[in-house]
Symmetry: C2
Subunit: 261 residues, 2 copies
DNA sequence: GAATAAACTG
DNA sequence: CAGTTTATTC
């Protein structure tokens, strides 16, 4: 089973790229972030035409997440947002069980700048994600949390660590928050498979960052040990980031071997 | 000599259509209205690449006019706006002499709604256009005033006259204002050549007006008698109105025989 | 309904 | 730099 995660930066602005990606990469499941569309206006039909059923949880202008799965795959136990989130909370999480794998698709708050209120909210959000995990899951389940984490786990995930040191996306507090997920039992699947590789998933639109490969790896696939055992490979597909008017993120993909169970 | 007039509704949004039109219709001169761009940002190079020299008089967001002429044709005695217009007046007129023909390119104020202040401004603008004509020109000169007049001269120029009766674009006061230009000596060239033909040049973006051919003829080519004598034909080219994301106006074209002088 | 600008976020 | 909304015009 191939699962992809992509911050599309507006699904409606990205419909053509989305079709291209589904066609070429052919994932069984695609987790999307920053769909930026309310549920009433979600382009369900376009996904349907491409051969995918989709569950979504979005809002106007900001945030919004969705999981698309190839027709034939069941999408079970859909969960939206974190425990305790009010109805008007930013829509940042959608989870579902597909082919026995629990898939939690997250768009972690960006945090704006270190020390700001949004930064505190980001850290709190990570904390609450951990509580959700502890409440509903165990590290011995086949579970994947993927999405835009808005944190580069280590300096290996940053094109120019000095310039980013202490900044948002690279701050020790954010890395510590991510670390708690690792402590619970999750593993950064791409880093596990490629311990030394410089791989990025996001490049700022400004300053020709993509052209110069000034990127960060902030889109992650975290897996529990049983799923890590099934992980054949994890990689970033830059092809859609090369197109005209791309998202600023490239998709991360993970290939899983069939379950032995 | 072939002269065209087209309300492009933003020259920057219409660059591709503009290239298509210049390529296919191949006018010697193109008068444009609603360029919606300040002179510093006018896409002079794109016109140059297409083989046209261009003079322009524009502003941010609204209005803006330009005359493009095939390389090799001189563009002389450029006049911008009406006598007495202040520097900050809406930029609605550019005139030039090309191959001995005085070409006055106008974007007449829309008038918003009958009885409003903009409507009074529109009527006053027509009046001042007449004064300009009287001050600088004579009906025995080869002179063309073309552009978006925002008036349908008669009910023959309106798809459904009853629905438009007394409305802006069709109001008796506007038609009377236009009538003063006819009284001075100008002739509506298309109507002269095609006395009974239902021809439109503008279709509202809304309500599928183009599809239903619910249009008005508000883009005109008015000529003096010596130029009428040289007029071979006048028509509206709807091909660019059929493209994706078109202007709401289609170009009007006039073919002139060579001067006998 | 399509264009533009301004203010906002990432 | 690219996306969004809102207000404005036609």
């Amino acid at each position: 089973m191939r699962i992809a995660s992509w911050n599309v930066n507006s699904i409606r602005a990205r419909l053509e790229h989305l079709r291209t990606f589904l066609e070429t990469a052919s994932p069984d499941v695609l987790c999307m972030q920053e769909t930026k569309v309310e549920d009433e206006k979600f382009p369900e039909e376009a996904l349907g035409d491409a051969g995918y059923r989709v569950v979504f949880f979005g809002q106007k202008t900001y945030n919004g997440v969705a999981i698309a799965a190839r027709y034939g795959l069941g999408i079970e136990d859909v969960k939206k947002n974190l425990d305790g989130d009010e109805d008007d909370a930013p829509r940042r999480l959608i989870a579902a069980t597909i082919e026995g794998v629990r898939i939690i698709n997250v768009y972690v708050p960006n945090g704006q700048a270190v020390g700001t209120k949004p930064f505190a909210y980001k850290l709190a959000w990570f904390e609450r994600l951990g509580l959700d995990l502890a409440a509903h899951h165990r590290p011995d389940e086949p579970l994947l949390i993927c999405g835009d984490f808005n944190v580069a786990p280590t300096n290996l995930d940053v094109h120019e660590p000095k310039r980013w040191e202490g900044q948002v996306l690279c701050h020790p507090d954010e890395r510590a928050a991510l670390g708690k997920l690792f402590a619970w039992g999750l593993v950064d699947a791409l880093r596990d498979k490629h311990p030394d590789e410089k791989v990025y998933s996001w490049w700022d639109y400004r300053m020709g960052a993509y052209r110069k490969n000034h990127g960060l790896r902030i889109d992650l696939a975290l897996v529990t040990p049983p799923l890590l055992a099934r992980t054949k490979d994890v990689w970033v597909d830059r092809s859609v980031r090369e197109l005209e008017r791309p998202s600023d993120h490239a998709p991360v993909l993970i290939d899983l071997a069939e379950s032995q169970a």
